[in-house]
């Protein structure tokens, strides 16, 4: 690897975007690993894709929509059943601001 594609500072910035936190050792490790992976990805620059359409989904299908009608959904009890942090039928979280 000759040049750094992503610096430790950028790793810190991306971690913030991804809502992840790392200690110094992890930051070093990720910087090193992401650089070697991104360096390998440079391979894609060998191909000229200027006139190529991107593929988002492989099987071309019309966007299927269901009829706009009310159907049974999960009860409030079921929705809240996977956390103990519940108050008055709401999800409870620490202070926001």
């Amino acid at each position: 690897m000759t040049e750094k594609i992503i610096t430790k500072k950028e790793v810190e910035y991306v971690a913030k975007l991804a809502k992840l936190e790392f200690n110094e050792e992890e930051k070093e490790e990720f910087t090193y690993q992401l650089n070697s992976i991104l360096d390998y990805f440079k391979k894609l620059n060998e191909i000229n894709t200027e006139k190529i359409e991107p593929t988002a989904y492989v099987i071309s299908m019309p966007n299927l929509l269901n009829k706009d009608e009310v159907k049974p959904s999960l009860s409030q009890k079921e929705v809240l059943s996977n956390t103990k942090y519940v108050q008055k039928g709401y999800f409870k979280v620490p202070k926001i601001i």
Partner: protein
């Protein structure tokens, strides 16, 4: 009794002839699990009580003269990324420990309606990110053929469970090879259906444009049998295809004379194990003897598949995994000063290393200033990879390749080097990028008695063709049917 050694279709025959009951089948399977799963570690959780209850119900209905269901009493293991109502579903991650989905995935409802019995949830690489099942937060699964080796991944628990006779059928998911590569490492059959063939409703998302659920079975007939149950349109999944589903069992019965097989030359270059190459060449001779026409074909963009896949998959993953924030379900770090630090600490403690690495990579590839250079570029190359396949399919009915460049590797051999690990999926990844179906089945063993997998790739929604070719191969290949002898490391040392 040794029911567990049989295929699903043989067990169903016995059930229909009233030679066994569903209860006996389930009893035999749990006895087997109790005997070997301490060594194999295929399961994360067992569904014992519920399974016996269902078995009893099936037996009563059958005794009362009701028609037997197509999968009556068949023990099925489910990869722990597929939602099972009230049964813990963790995705192999600490962040979902204790999560009990309030609903079933569509495939689970379909299996249960067909009489199948969910016996437990299988181990996997966390959020299906990995090729060895070593990335599970709950410890690795071992390959039943050699307990010092990996079962492959990410559906390693499902493949190992079927190989070790702990289940007749298992469901896995395949985003870049996660059904086929472990099936190949464990000597069983694994199918990745066409994108849209099987509903993804209730499949916890990793990379939404690539993920598909597929069966892992002991033989091709069982694979067809399972596809008959799980394939088909589902209005709960907007990417599910509204197309008729053929009877896959009857399509197996036809011959393969005059079928045109393309062999992509780019799949036989450096990195391929010589014993794998020899086994594939032998398989090609079997196809020739059966009347197939074989030619070399070129898929010129093959070498770009891996970077394309990792950019698309990680970008989609970074978005899909944003939902794990500790608020509604799963793990949460307590006593955080504010919401933002709760998110950060929960995610940092809840996710394992590979998941964090992929979230970081995907977030970077999608971030402002880099989107065009990475994500959009990868989507464009994806078009070229798809076109390679469509061109090849203008001339050929199927393509035949190895499933993985090597047989099962040793535990800890590749875990420290992500790029080397990624390379074990080099032959399976292009298929996901193109959205087409492919099956892996055993085509021999190497000198260490490790299974080698053959991959048959088909046209979109032509699962019946690859199943037919696979069935013809299985019936005519004259490869000795071996079963793994599960022995503990200690036993092995004693024997030496």
């Amino acid at each position: 009794m040794t029911l567990h050694k049989l295929s699903a279709h043989d067990v169903i025959d016995l059930f229909k002839k009233k030679k066994v009951t569903a209860y006996e089948i389930i009893q035999d399977i749990y006895d087997r699990i109790d005997k070997v799963d301490g060594l194999v570690k295929a399961f994360l959780i067992l569904n014992r009580e519920d399974a016996f209850k269902q078995a009893k119900e099936i037996d009563i209905k059958f005794k009362n003269g009701e028609e037997p269901l197509p999968l009556a009493g068949i023990a099925v293991a489910i990869k722990d990324i597929i939602a099972t109502k009230k049964i813990e579903t963790t995705c192999g991650s600490k962040i979902l420990k204790g999560f009990r989905p309030p609903y079933n995935a569509t495939v689970i409802d379909k299996l249960r309606e067909a009489g199948a019995i969910i016996i437990g949830k299988t181990n996997m690489d966390e959020f299906a990110m990995g090729s060895s099942t070593e990335n599970s937060a709950f410890g690795p699964t071992k390959n039943p053929w050699d307990l010092e080796r990996v079962p492959g991944g990410s559906s390693g628990g499902s493949a190992a469970a079927v190989a070790a006779d702990e289940a007749f059928i298992a469901l896995g998911t395949d985003t870049g090879g996660s059904v086929r590569q472990p099936a190949s490492f464990c000597g069983v059959v694994g199918l990745k259906p066409t994108y849209g063939r099987v509903s993804r409703y209730g499949l916890i998302a990793y990379a939404s444009s690539l993920d598909q659920i597929g069966p892992i079975t002991k033989d091709v007939v069982d694979c067809a049998l399972t596809m008959n149950i799980i394939a088909g349109h589902d209005n709960k999944d907007s990417t599910s295809a509204d197309l008729e589903v053929p009877d896959y069992l009857s399509s197996c019965q036809e011959g393969i004379e005059n079928i045109k097989i393309g062999v992509p030359k780019e799949y036989f270059v450096k990195g391929i194990d010589i014993e794998v190459k020899d086994a594939i060449n032998k398989a090609l001779r079997v196809f020739e003897e059966l009347g197939a026409k074989i030619e070399e074909v070129s898929l010129p963009h093959t070498e770009y598949s891996l970077p394309t896949y990792y950019l698309i998959a990680t970008a989609e993953a970074s978005s899909n995994l944003a939902r794990y924030d500790g608020v509604q379900y799963g793990y949460r770090v307590e006593d955080c000063k504010d919401l933002s630090s709760m998110y950060e600490r929960t995610r940092s403690e809840g996710f394992g290393k590979e998941v964090k690495r992929r979230i970081m990579l995907g977030t970077y590839a999608l971030s402002s200033g880099y989107y065009d250079a990475y994500y959009l570029k990868a989507q464009k190359v994806r078009t070229l990879i798809r076109e390679d396949f469509s061109k090849a399919f203008n001339k050929y009915d199927i393509l035949v390749t190895p499933t993985s460049p090597t047989p099962a590797f040793k535990l800890n051999e590749k875990i420290a080097d992500p790029l080397t690990m990624y390379l074990s999926d080099i032959y399976t990844i292009p298929v996901n990028l193109a959205g087409i179906p492919a099956i892996s089945l055993n085509c021999g063993y190497n000198k260490n008695n490790l299974p080698i997998g053959l991959q048959i790739i088909g046209k979109p929604f032509k699962e019946e063709t690859i199943l037919r070719v696979a069935y013809n191969f299985e019936q005519n290949c004259e490869i000795e049917k071996r079963r793994p002898e599960i022995s503990s490391i200690k036993d092995k040392e004693n024997a030496e």
